[in-house]
Amino acid sequence: LIIGRGQRAWFYAPAAILLVLGIAYPIARTVLLSFSHLNLTTGFQPRFAGMENYLRVLSDSRFVNSLGVTAIFSIISVALEFGIGLGLALAANKLVRGQALVRSIFLAPWTLPTAILALLWAWIFNDPYGAVNALLQNSGVISRPVAWLATPATAMSAIIIADVWKTTPFIFLVLLAGLQNIPKDLYEAMEIDGGGAWAKFRYVTWPFLLPFVFISLVFRIIQAFAIFDLVWVMTGGGPGGSTETVSVYSYQTYMRYLDIGYGSAQAAATVVILAGVAGFLYWLLLRRYARTF
């Protein structure tokens, strides 16, 4: 049986259909809706809005606030995750035995469903009964239970800690894979040239690791920027909107206010911002990488 060129193309069809239905169509529809008024007031009939929804995004103090909250959350949590993940990966890479075991243990938090571990962390930080308060009270650090999730700074810290706990393993795993790809003879050559531990890291490990650093950071920042479940379950965006991320606000705009047009504009604006961040990371990390070789 001989299959011609034209017929062969049909084998792409299932993948193409999935891509169009699952990704292209929703994106196109969201962008389209973001240029229309579609809400309770219009009786759910779309009405052309031009740029009005986007102008509203810019002047909406709550959106700007949620953008700030999301940025703070993303920068702090991804920075912590990257630092800890890199340290753990470097250490694990040195292990001669039991690496598989260590890898599995570190990976456990990452495999848990976020909503469930968010509930868990909410209990850990619970006001009278939580583990954190019990620990700190028993060791005499605090005399009265602290309402961690009730004040802006502590609530944000609690969410960041939960996120770091869950997603550090992802960075750990990607970086460990990168480390194991580095040819050993390069280190030997470095030793012969009299390079110390720092020189090995700076001139061998880091340049080889950069593509993996880029991948892990881009993935994590995009995920962190879209954070919803952790915040929704732990604080619901409170207290006083101090942990309300862009996704939480967009969700409210869609589902509670039923303002589909404006919600779409928020989502589209977020994607544009994220693309900018990814571009910046590429410029920062991989432009250098390309020059190294």
Partner: protein, 406 residues
Amino acid sequence: MSSKRAAARVFFWTALAILLIASFRGSQSDSGGLSILMEPDGTGVWRDLVAEFNREYPGAPIRLIEGPPATNTREDMYSTSFLSGEAAYDIVYCDGIWVAKFAAAGWLADLSSRPTADDRADFLPVEFEAGSYQGKLYRMPAFTDAGVLFYRKDLVSKPPETFEQLSMLAQAMQTEDRWGFLWQGKQYEGLVTVFLEVLRGFGGEWIDAQTREVKIDSPETIQAITFLKNTIGTISPPSVTTYAEEDTRNIFQNGRAVFLRNWPYVWTLIQQAGGSFSQQIAMTPMVHAPGFASAPTLGGWGFAIASQSRDPGRAWQFVEFLTRPEQLIQVQQRQGRIPSRRSMIPAEFLPILTSARMRPVIPEYAQASDILQRWLSAALAGRVTPEKAVSEIATETSLLLKGGRP
């Protein structure tokens, strides 16, 4: 090897086909019944009532779905289901503040012709008003709530009527381990209900639902915010800005406060607990400024029918059954809720419930309430001045009601 693989492939596709067919048949068998999404049925009273109905009125069976306790979440579950057009729920156990939104979206069936003249006469008129949008009835009333001021009659001989009297009595009677006045100051819907009572007690208003005019930019609003803010740390605990209903009830029921603003369920719980403490508690309408009337905020639950329901006649039969006195009294006895039928309201609540006032019935209520909550909360925490909060609430709410476009 290859025959094994072929076998595995055949097995896989067959399994998939079976699953698909099974799922279609599963969804078809559902279409025989009607469903209602309710609160978690802790007392089991809803299960019993549904079983009683299915037994006594043969026909398509009613299925009870117990939702999560957070009313916001159930509101979103209804929205998701109705937006997708799948009519997962035929009957809506409906909070008063959802009526306008759901009705404007076209998700609720018009019930205007359903209640009998007797029902019209018996249920509180304000509940029919709260269940109506643009002149049509969308929600059959069932239970009524209104803000109440509880006080310790062993400490206070004559209940306060004005804000000033409340402050003075609270100040005089509070001690080292007993606060003067508890209210709900957390950033949530409860804060809006408390604030409205204070605002209207000063003669102010938030939104005129008829004209969609924003009334909040007034000296009365400043007075109301200032009153609440001044209680914090003086007659109310500093953490009152994180309290919801249950936090304040627990403190009050432990004897650690003189006055408590809350809902009638507290009375039921305290009476059920019995003991000497239940003898020390009395209630009075919420206080107001001299020359104005007490304005308890109305909060109530009723039943609505989804416009997407395939059998609205059967759905109404069930709603009509539930809102009869014989069924309402079972819920009253087991849950402590107060039926909206005047003939069933306990005498001690009648004056408070009949003076209750609605929150504005507008489709954008959730958004307007969120604006109010955010700025109120900021003003109470001292992050902005009351004047700044009022002007921000006024600007944002006006924008919203004009269609949300700058």
